[in-house]
C-alpha cells in the first residue's frame, strides 16, 4: 500500500490548501468539505422534518382536533415527507458518497468537483423555497396554504385544487432533481474513471457498488419526476389538461408517471444502506463479507426489478386484471434478491468473532428492523390483501420501518463508523450508547403499533380518527416524541466530534482489513488524499 499524502507538496496545488472562512465552504471543490456540507445539511433537514412529524403526532395523540387545523395537518404530512425524502435521506447518502467513494477507490477527489459544489449549493435554496411556504402558512397574513396534497402530490388535488404555493413546490422539486442528477453523474464518472490501478470493478467495496447502481437509478428516474412536475405546471398555468379528466386528460396517468419515478426512488434510498451495512458488518465480525459477487448481482437485480413494479402502489386505481397480476408477481419477486442480501449478512456474522461497537449495533439493528419492513412489504405485495392494507397505517408502518429503522439507522451506523475518519476523534461512547438504545426502543414504540391500527382499518393522512384507534395512537405519539428527543443526543455527539472534543482516533480505529483503503489514510483524513494513487494488489 502506498504512503498517504499528508506530507504532500505540489506547488501547483498550493493555493488550494487550507482555504478558510466562508469561502472555504461556498466555493469548495473538495469532496470532503462538500461531503461535510451535505451531511450537516441533511441532519438539519432531518431535525426540521422531525419537527413537522411531531406536529402530526401532537394532533393525533388524542381523538378530536386539538392543536392544528386539518388543513395545516395536511401541510405537515406533505412537507414532512418531502423534507425527509429529498432533504434528509438522499443528501445524507450523497454526503457519504462524497466523503467515502474517493477514499474507498483511491481517487484524489470526485471527478467533477465544480459540479459537485453546484449540486450541493442548489439544495439550501430549494429547501428555503419549500419551507418558506410552511412559514407563510404558519405565520403569514391569512395563512396561505403550503403544499397540502401529500408528498405523492396526486393530481388533480395538486393541480386543479392545489394552493398557490404549489408553484413554489414545483420549482423546489425541479431544483432538487437537478441537484440529484448532477450528484449521480458525478458518482458514475468518478467510479468509472478514477479507480486506483488494480481496483477492478469486482474489488470495489460494496458501498461503492451500491452507490454506482443507485446513481444509475437516479439518472434514469429524476427526469421522470421533473416531467411530472412540469406537466403539473402547464396544467396549472398554461391550459394543458394532462391530468384533468374534464379536459380529456387522465388523473391515473399522473400516478403512473409519479410511481415510475417513485418506486426506483424507494431503492435509491435503501441501496446505499445495503452498501454501508455490507461495509460495517465484516469489519466487526472480523470475517470477509459472505457472497460478495451475489451481493453485487442482488443489488443490480433489485435495481432492474424496481422499474417494473411501480403500479403496486396503485392496486386500487382499477387496473385491468392482467396488469394487476403482472405487478403482483414482479413485486413478490423482489423479495428474492432482498432475501439473498439478508442471508448474506447473516452468513457473514455466522461463526465470526464479533464485537459490538456502536457502528455494529446500528448495523445489526438495521438488518433486523429493515427485514421487518421487508416482510410487511411482502404482505403488501399480495394484491387482494393489499386492497385492505392500502392507504392505511399498515403502509405507514411498512415504509417507516424501511426508511427510519432502515435507511436512517444505516446512516447513523455510517456516521458512527466514519466519524473518527472525518473528525479525527472517536464519537462519545456514553452518549452514543444512549442514542442507540433510546432510538432502538422508541422507534419500535413509534412504528410497531401502526401495524395494528392499520390492520384495524385506520386510513393514513387522517387528522382525526374513530375512537377504537385512540389507545394505540397515544402510544405512537409517545414513541414519536421519545424518538425525536433521542436524535438530539446525536446532535451533541456530532458537535463534540466537530469541535475535536474526545478521544483521539488512530488511522484505523476499528481494525478494518487493509483492503479498506479509507482506513489507510490518517485520521482526520487530510484535505487531499491519494494524490498519488495507491496500487491495489
Amino acid at each position: 500500500m502506498t504512503a498517504t499524502t499528508a506530507e504532500h507538496h505540489d506547488h501547483h496545488d498550493d493555493h488550494h490548501h487550507a482555504p478558510h472562512g466562508l469561502k472555504r465552504w461556498l466555493f469548495s471543490t473538495n469532496h470532503k468539505d462538500i461531503g461535510t456540507l451535505y451531511l450537516w445539511f441533511s441532519f438539519a433537514m432531518f431535525l426540521i422534518g422531525g419537527l413537522l412529524a411531531l406536529v402530526i403526532r401532537a394532533e393525533l395523540m388524542y381523538p378530536g382536533m386539538q392543536v392544528v387545523d386539518p388543513e395545516f395537518f395536511n401541510q405537515m404530512t406533505t412537507v414532512h415527507g418531502l423534507v425527509m425524502v429529498f432533504g434528509a435521506i438522499m443528501p445524507a447518502f450523497v454526503g457519504l458518497a462524497n466523503w467515502m467513494i474517493p477514499l474507498m477507490i483511491g481517487a484524489p477527489d470526485m471527478a467533477l468537483p465544480r459540479m459537485n459544489n453546484w449540486s450541493f449549493w442548489i439544495l439550501p435554496f430549494a429547501f428555503t423555497i419549500l419551507i418558506s411556504s410552511v412559514l407563510m402558512s404558519a405565520f403569514g397574513e391569512g395563512n396561505p396554504s403550503a403544499p397540502n396534497f401529500g408528498w405523492t402530490f396526486y393530481a388533480p388535488l395538486s393541480t386543479t385544487y392545489g394552493p398557490a404555493s404549489t408553484d413554489l413546490f414545483i420549482l423546489s422539486v425541479h431544483m432538487m432533481g437537478i441537484s440529484s442528477i448532477m450528484g449521480a453523474i458525478n458518482v458514475v464518472v468518478t467510479v468509472f474513471n478514477l479507480r486506483a490501478p488494480g481496483m477492478t470493478m469486482m474489488k470495489m467495496p460494496l458501498f461503492v457498488w451500491t452507490w454506482l447502481i443507485t446513481a444509475f437509478l437516479l439518472v434514469a428516474v429524476m427526469p421522470v419526476l421533473a416531467g411530472a412536475v412540469t406537466m403539473m405546471l402547464t396544467d396549472r398555468h398554461f391550459g394543458t389538461s394532462f391530468f384533468s379528466a374534464a379536459g380529456g386528460g387522465d388523473p391515473v396517468l399522473f400516478q403512473h408517471i409519479f410511481w415510475f419515478f417513485g418506486h426506483p426512488e424507494v431503492y435509491i434510498m435503501i441501496l446505499p444502506s445495503f452498501g454501508v451495512v455490507s461495509s460495517i458488518i465484516p469489519v466487526f465480525a472480523r470475517k470477509q463479507l459472505f457472497g460478495y459477487a451475489s451481493m453485487v448481482y442482488a443489488t443490480a437485480s433489485i435495481a432492474l426489478l424496481s422499474f417494473v413494479v411501480w403500479a403496486h402502489h396503485m392496486f386500487t386505481v382499477g387496473m385491468p386484471l392482467a396488469g394487476t397480476l403482472f405487478f403482483m408477481y414482479m413485486t413478490m419477486l423482489i423479495s428474492v434478491p432482498t432475501g439473498v442480501k439478508v442471508f448474506n449478512w447473516m452468513a457473514t456474522m455466522w461463526r465470526g468473532s464479533m464485537t459490538f461497537e456502536l457502528p455494529m449495533k446500528w448495523a445489526i439493528a438495521f438488518v433486523i428492523l429493515f427485514t421487518c419492513g421487508g416482510l410487511s412489504g411482502l404482505m403488501l405485495a399480495i394484491t387482494p390483501v393489499d386492497f385492505q392494507y392500502h392507504d392505511t397505517y399498515f403502509v405507514v408502518a411498512h415504509f417507516h420501518y424501511v426508511l427510519v429503522s432502515g435507511a436512517v439507522f444505516s446512516i447513523m451506523a455510517a456516521a458512527y463508523y466514519w466519524l473518527p475518519k472525518w473528525s479525527g476523534v472517536m464519537p462519545n461512547k456514553i452518549l452514543g450508547e444512549l442514542h442507540f438504545w433510546s432510538s432502538l426502543l422508541s422507534v419500535n414504540l413509534l412504528f410497531f403499533p401502526m401495524h395494528f391500527v392499520g390492520l384495524a382499518g385506520m386510513p393514513r393522512r387522517y387528522a382525526d380518527y374513530a375512537l377504537q384507534f385512540a389507545d394505540y395512537n397515544f402510544w405512537i405519539s409517545i414513541g414519536a416524541f421519545w424518538f425525536g428527543v433521542s436524535q438530539l443526543i446525536f446532535l451533541v455527539v456530532a458537535i463534540l466530534c466537530a469541535m475535536k472534543k474526545g478521544e483521539k482516533a488512530p488511522a484505523n480505529p476499528w481494525d478494518a482489513p487493509e483492503e479498506d483503503l479509507e482506513w489507510t489514510v490518517p485520521s482526520p483524513a487530510p484535505f487531499h488524499t491519494f494524490d498519488t494513487p495507491p496500487v491495489i494488489k
Binding site: 386500487t316 403482483m328 447473516m346 452468513a347 393522512r461
Partner: protein
C-alpha cells in the same frame, strides 16, 4: 461439544418458536387489532390469505432473527477469538435463492384465485353508483333486479357534530381552537360511540344479493373503503371503477368505512355508513324512496322566519360549515359575517344563484339540497351572526 450446544440452542429456539406460534394464533383469533375478518365470503378469503402470509413472514422473520441473535451470542469475540474463514458457499446461495421462489409460488396461487374472483362483477342484481365529493359521498341506485330505472339518489354527510371534534387547545390561524388559557381545564366534549364514522343518511343494501358498485368522483380522487366487505376502490374523476360485494343473509346490520385517498382538508370527515337489511325490508325502503323522488320537491312556503331559520341552521351545519366555518367566519370559502353577498339586497338573487349552480371552487348544491333546504340556508345566512337582514327566502324563489 459444539454440536451439543447447537442442538440445545436449536431445540430451545424451536420450542420458543412453537410457543410463540401458539400465543400468536390465540391473539390473532381474539384481537381487534388484527385484520378484520369482515362479513362476506370475499373478506373471509382475504383474511385467510392475510393469515397465511402473516404466518409465512413471521416464520421467516423468527428464523432469521433467531439465527442472528444466536450468532450474536455464540459468535462474539469473547467466545470465539478467531473468526472462521469461509465467505462463499455456492450450494447454500443457490438454495436460499430457490426456496423463496417456491414459497412465493405457493403464495401467488391462492392470491391469484381470490383476485380473479374479486374482479368478476358479472351477474349482479343491484347496481349503485357511488360518487365521491369533497367531502361527502352520493349514492345513486341504478338498477335492482328487473327494474332498470330505479332513480333513487341522495347525498351522505358526516353526522358527528363539529363540537365533538373541535376540541379546544390553542388559538390563532395556525391553532384555530381557542387559547390554551381559555380552554385550560375544560372537559373535552363527550364523543359518540361511532364518532367520525356515522353518516346522516346511510347507503342501504339488501343481504344475499350480489351488489355492484360503480365508483367515481366529481372533483379529486377519493377511495371507497369498507373493511368489513374486504374492498377498497379509488373514486377517480373521469373514470368509473367497478367493485362488488355480497353480504350473506343473517349478517344484516350497520357497517362503517371511510375515505382512503387524501382528498384535501376534510379527508378524515367523509365516512361511509352502509346499512344491510333483508331483501323484504330493502324492497319497502326502495319503494318509499322512489315515491319521495317521484312526488317532486316540497314547495310549501315557510310560515315564519323562525321556521326557515331553524331548518337553515341544521342544513348549514351539515353542508356549509366545513368550508364557511361553523359561525360563518369563513375558511376555505368566504365569510358571511357582514359580507356584501349576505347582507345587501341587490346580491340576494346572486346569493341564491351561487348556492344553486356553484361558482369557482364552490360546488353546485341543486342535487344535494331541496329548494326548501336552499331557501332555508340562504335565509339563515342572511339573518344569523348579526346579519339580520330580515330576508325570508321562500322555496318558490329558489325553484324559479
Amino acid at each position: 461439544m459444539q454440536s451439543t450446544l447447537f442442538r440445545r440452542v436449536s431445540a430451545a429456539l424451536s420450542l420458543l418458536m412453537f410457543s410463540g406460534f401458539a400465543v400468536a394464533s390465540d391473539w390473532a383469533e381474539r384481537s381487534d387489532h388484527n385484520l378484520r375478518q369482515g362479513v362476506t365470503q370475499v373478506s373471509q378469503e382475504v383474511y385467510d390469505l392475510h393469515m397465511i402470509i402473516l404466518w409465512i413472514v413471521s416464520a421467516i422473520g423468527l428464523a432469521v432473527f433467531g439465527l442472528i441473535m444466536y450468532s450474536v451470542f455464540a459468535h462474539r469475540r469473547s467466545k470465539r477469538p478467531k473468526a472462521a474463514d469461509f465467505h462463499e458457499h455456492v450450494l447454500l446461495e443457490v438454495v436460499w435463492t430457490i426456496i423463496p421462489f417456491f414459497i412465493l409460488i405457493a403464495m401467488a396461487i391462492p392470491a391469484t384465485r381470490v383476485l380473479i374472483n374479486l374482479d368478476d362483477t358479472s351477474a349482479s342484481e343491484l347496481t349503485v353508483k357511488v360518487t365521491g365529493y369533497r367531502w361527502k359521498w352520493s349514492y345513486e341506485y341504478l338498477s335492482y333486479k328487473d327494474d332498470n330505472d330505479v332513480g333513487v339518489f341522495f347525498f351522505s354527510n358526516l353526522k358527528t357534530p363539529a363540537d365533538q371534534f373541535n376540541t379546544p387547545a390553542l388559538e390563532g390561524g395556525l391553532f384555530p381552537y381557542g387559547t390554551a388559557a381559555e380552554n385550560y381545564g375544560k372537559e373535552s366534549p363527550e364523543k359518540d360511540y361511532n364518532y367520525m364514522l356515522e353518516a346522516d343518511k346511510a347507503l342501504v343494501v339488501p343481504s344475499g344479493v350480489k351488489v355492484r358498485f360503480l365508483v367515481t368522483a366529481d372533483d379529486v380522487i377519493h377511495s371507497f373503503y369498507v373493511p368489513d366487505f374486504g374492498f377498497k376502490k379509488d373514486a377517480i374523476p373521469g373514470f368509473v371503477n367497478e367493485i362488488w360485494t355480497n353480504i350473506p343473509e343473517g349478517q344484516e346490520g350497520t357497517y362503517y368505512g371511510q375515505c382512503a385517498e387524501l382528498c384535501g382538508k376534510n379527508h378524515a370527515f367523509m365516512p361511509i355508513e352502509v346499512k344491510v337489511v333483508t331483501q323484504d325490508e330493502f324492497a319497502t325502503w326502495l319503494a318509499d324512496e322512489k315515491e319521495k323522488a317521484a312526488s317532486g320537491p316540497d314547495l310549501t312556503p315557510f310560515a315564519s322566519l323562525d321556521d326557515a331559520m331553524k331548518l337553515g341552521e341544521q342544513k348549514y351545519a351539515a353542508s356549509c360549515a366545513l368550508c364557511h366555518g361553523a359561525n360563518g367566519e369563513g375558511g376555505i370559502g368566504p365569510t358571511f359575517v357582514g359580507s356584501e353577498m349576505a347582507t345587501q339586497a341587490e346580491h340576494r338573487e346572486d346569493h341564491i344563484h351561487v348556492l344553486v349552480n356553484g361558482r369557482n371552487a364552490m360546488p353546485s348544491f341543486k342535487a344535494q339540497l331541496t329548494p326548501k333546504d336552499i331557501a332555508a340556508v340562504i335565509t339563515y345566512e342572511r339573518n344569523a351572526w348579526g346579519n339580520n337582514t330580515g330576508d325570508l327566502i321562500q322555496p318558490a324563489d329558489v325553484a324559479k
